[in-house]
Symmetry: C3
Subunit: 277 residues, 3 copies
């Protein structure tokens, strides 16, 4: 039989023991589990960052149980949940919206429960570390084949919390989108996917110059030029480019540079893209 597959995503950081403790707890329950750390250095409390990372990674992971522990509301009324998705995976997290972007990508939620059953938690549940006490044990038990409904009462999927992410808009040859995520290279992921750009610009060959109108909330906008490109190395070192990343998402980058720093791009900044004059 294949080893059960479990992934972990948290904002616990790597200096503190929390991430390793989740791993230890899982191995205590499911000693044969293959555990992959998706990331433990998600920005603190950044639920949306976590949601995006799951959306990127889960399609490339084996089917398994995936824990998402970015949980600013730990110990309050938010529900601890597990959902099953059409591909067959279980996703385990607080009900704060972190799961649904990935769940949709994996075919949508087919069932959901609130993690209330004591038999599938650690014997003592703290008020500040549900990753250890509730989520990791749930994932371990699910990975061993425990049926979802044993872990707690059923939840109507439509009641699950959804993150507010503004929809990209296309009109009159312009694509209006926002900065969604800045990665460790300083590459900047937008809320829009590749087809939205094709809808706005028509069939633009690589090399087309585009104008980016950058609008911080409540401030005046400024203009930046970039080249619509297949990849980094097709523009000169230090030059900005717009490209479709390896997940199909529109991104801004600077070849071998840090686009976020160079262009002043931060999360939630408004970005309107059109052909350059």
């Amino acid at each position: 039989m294949a080893r059960p597959f479990i992934s972990l995503l948290t904002d616990f950081g790597l200096r503190d023991p929390s991430a390793a403790i989740c791993r230890g707890v899982i191995l205590g329950i499911a000693p044969e589990a293959e555990i992959v750390d998706l990331s433990h250095v998600v920005r603190k409390y950044a639920i949306r960052d976590g949601a995006l990372l799951l959306w990127c990674a889960l399609p490339y992971f084996p089917i398994g149980a995936h824990v998402a522990g970015v949980d600013p509301g730990v110990g309050t009324e938010r529900r601890p949940i597990a959902v099953q998705v059409k591909r067959g995976d279980y996703l385990v997290a607080p009900d704060n919206g972190i799961l649904l972007m990935a769940a949709d990508k994996l075919g949508g939620v087919t069932a959901a429960v609130e993690l209330r059953e004591a038999a599938y938690r650690l014997p003592v549940v703290s008020t500040s570390f549900h990753g250890r006490d509730i989520f990791s044990p749930a994932a371990a038990h699910l990975s061993l084949g425990v049926p979802l409904e044993r872990l707690g009462p059923s939840i109507e999927p439509t009641t699950l919390v959804r993150l507010p992410i503004p929809e990209p808009r296309v009109s009159r040859g312009r694509l209006e989108t926002h900065v969604l995520y800045v990665d460790t290279f300083g590459n900047v992921k937008l809320t829009a996917l590749g087809p939205a750009l094709r809808e706005a610009l028509g069939a633009a060959p690589y090399g087309t110059r585009v104008e980016l109108e950058l609008t911080p909330a409540g401030e005046r906008s400024r203009m930046v030029l970039a080249t619509w490109s297949a990849t980094f190395g097709t523009v000169a070192r230090g030059e900005p480019l717009l490209y479709e990343d390896s997940y199909g998402r529109l991104c801004l980058a600077v070849n071998q540079g840090d686009a976020a720093a160079a262009l002043g791009l931060v999360e939630d900044l408004g970005v309107t893209i059109r052909r350059a004059g």
Copy 2:
């Protein structure tokens, strides 16, 4: 047979190859080992931080062999040691005090040896990387069932180095304690555990206001107010709280904020806690 379990804690960092090399050396000796990285980004040379992380994590890990490589004295006269604890684990480290806090938590040291036997070291032992040459091989061999006494001469446990950590004191409704550790959220762990607060304040319900007198060494003290709370989300965002963490230790935090930065809390700072006037 279950896979042998080994954990690694070091201050080697994650950019350099040292931590991965320890893992490679272990797998060369014990190919079936399940290895967990407790942390490799312990503050450089911070033996006490390492001691605390072991104390937090080991009770949640499967029984196994645990390496603690925070070793500012590498290559000098300090002894490389392995100890067995009552729970059955082996703890492997330099004799600099890093092990005993966790060893006590796991039932106390039942046997100790100095790691002198060449057959259980790498063939060449360097002067600057005993994690690779001595500690990792020792843990791998112990995890395979090699008896402890084969690894070197016995050590009297009472001669093991102990870290000087000031004892918390309770008197006249006050708890005198110190900052022990600042975590990656900026949450601040104190030297005192939960019962010490109950001894100082009596049965204080959550919501009780407490006064913190903060005394840097050799300086004047200053006062801060906090709320005795079950968890972060029971105070407003940005508000300070005193709580018992998920390991039973008293901690200071700011809800969704960085208490260390906001309140100027650093390691070894004196903290006296009493009911607010």
Copy 3:
């Protein structure tokens, strides 16, 4: 049968999902693989840093398939390659020079191919993430025993890209070398190995004082004194030392301090070593 061994080295960072996705892709192809993260926080685009880390680590790893994903030229004409070395390992990377320092250490390249065969790539190959789409699948298939020549057309090893690293020079009692790498302790690795110092200084006992002439490119040089030492703790805390590290390489350090910061040492700085007056 032993589990196949695969190591990963990249500059992807640990916050983003890229490193974990490589792991997930490998496990989808080779579910029994034992995967070790050599490092994912190599300095961005620093091919030479990656080359050094492989040189340090691979001799301590089990024989296996090793991926090196530091790839500023991703999506351009540089070739994706796999080489076999005399020890039996496969090394998989862009043909940018990252592999050959380690390959030489493992006995030299015995065969090389360009990774062109679609059957051993992911079904869709992006222009910006060959670590996921080409290198990880290649390593996984090689670790399962697929013959190297199946992955693509053969490459003449002499055509592989080599990194320009200046050779150390010994003359008139002086060793001229350069800073190669600054580690996370601030210890500074030089391009020269131990024997070069013995050639320059003769049989110098530990404790010998040495003079370091530090020459930034195009600037005036300055002098620093250090002690030739077996290990850190043989000089006083805060004192500089020259030592042979655990890989046989000459290094500069400050006992329990950060030599790079204290002495102003940066990559590529010229360092000339002689006996102090």
